[in-house]
């Protein structure tokens, strides 16, 4: 069942090889349709770097984290790079708990992430 609490906004950047996916509200197992549609839209062009912006995240359960892992696998398979920005201390802790910070680069803001993406 789709989670009505998930809102996602896809933004292009000055760099044609990078897109930002801004996530608002809740991320749960029911966020799959919204997140995967946003991801497909983000990589539709030439984007090789996808920056997930979590600044608007209000709630995430373990089903939501599972979706992020699925997204990570998908991006690796397609030769894309997944980066994260806007994580509060609480969500940074969760990324560290499950060792997702070893697989997804975490940056302070989109500019820092885009610079890392170009590196």
């Amino acid at each position: 069942m789709a989670d009505p609490g998930t809102r996602v906004d896809v933004r292009s950047t000055d760099d044609p090889t990078a897109s930002v996916v801004a996530i608002f509200g809740d991320v749960t197992g029911g966020s799959e349709p919204a997140l995967m549609e946003a991801y497909s839209k983000a990589v539709d062009g030439r984007a090789r770097t996808i920056v997930l912006d979590f600044a608007g995240l209000e709630y995430m359960n373990s089903g939501g984290i599972g979706l992020l892992v699925t997204m990570l696998v998908r991006s690796k398979r397609q030769g894309q790079r997944l980066l994260a920005v806007g994580l509060s201390d609480h969500y940074r802790e969760i990324f560290s708990l499950i060792r997702l910070d070893e697989a997804i680069g975490i940056h302070e803001d989109a500019n820092a992430a885009l610079a890392a993406g170009r590196a």
Partner: protein
């Protein structure tokens, strides 16, 4: 403002520790290792059972947490932590690798998330599967469903071989039997489990081939093989 999920997540730890008491603690000092850090193909398995009896999703999860060890098939012993199924707690497991075989695999799970409608386990280094297992209950068109969803990779090449030689089928049957036991306990007379299996990633992660050094399978085999000599040594020491 605090996020709504504060309190449901465990805090990060550099190494695991447990309050559970089991025959062999093969978990303390290890780190968690989810599906990102496994070797083999990544699979998502979803098991669902509709429940009769009118229990709400919250009732189902409360009962499941309380009676968790008794819902598991007899092939696995679950040694619960003192605080029960709560974020950050670590349980010990003893798994019969094959029916009747003397080798029992000692491992565990960490509760990484728990709220009123779901809870999630993550496996430690050395476990045969690098996995997350989420137990949840929800309402679908007026019917309460109990669900187990597993996201897993075999941890190392040895585990990968075992997984493909029947381990995966055994594990599927294990979760189906778990849900049937739960449903019966909650008053469902003829439970029927719906199983969905999806391969999320066909590629093996060769950079994790070194997970073999943590293998609980190898550790348990060595422990069983050396049991007689350890017994003799303890008798000699005891006899002065």
């Amino acid at each position: 403002m605090e996020p709504k999920d504060t309190g449901a997540w465990a805090h990060p730890v550099s190494s695991l520790a447990t309050t559970a008491v089991g025959p062999d603690d093969a978990v303390t000092g290890r780190r968690v290792a989810g599906p990102v850090h496994g070797f083999g193909q990544m699979w998502q398995k979803t098991f669902r059972v509709p429940l009769d009896g009118g229990a709400s999703p919250r009732d189902v999860i409360a009962t499941w947490k309380e009676r968790f060890p008794t819902c598991w098939p007899k092939s696995v012993k679950f040694y619960a932590p003192l605080a029960g199924i709560a974020p950050g707690e670590v349980a010990l497991l003893e798994i019969a690798l094959l029916p009747g075989a003397p080798v029992r695999l000692s491992t565990g799970v960490m509760v990484i998330y728990a709220d009123d409608e779901s809870f999630t386990f993550m496996t430690p280094e050395g476990h045969t599967l690098s996995a997350w297992i989420t137990f949840s209950a929800f309402d679908e068109s007026g019917v309460t469903l109990a669900q187990v969803q597993v996201l897993e990779r075999p941890s190392d090449p040895l585990d990968d071989l075992a997984y493909n030689l029947g381990g995966s089928r055994m594990q599927t049957r294990f979760w189906e039997e778990t849900l049937i036991a739960l449903a019966r306990h909650l008053g469902t007379s003829d439970p029927s489990v719906e199983t969905t299996v999806v391969c999320v990633d066909r590629k093996r992660q060769w950079r994790y081939v070194r997970n073999l050094r943590h293998s609980a399978t190898i550790h348990s085999m060595m422990r069983t093989a050396t049991a007689p000599s350890r017994w003799v040594a303890s008798r000699v020491r005891g006899g002065g």
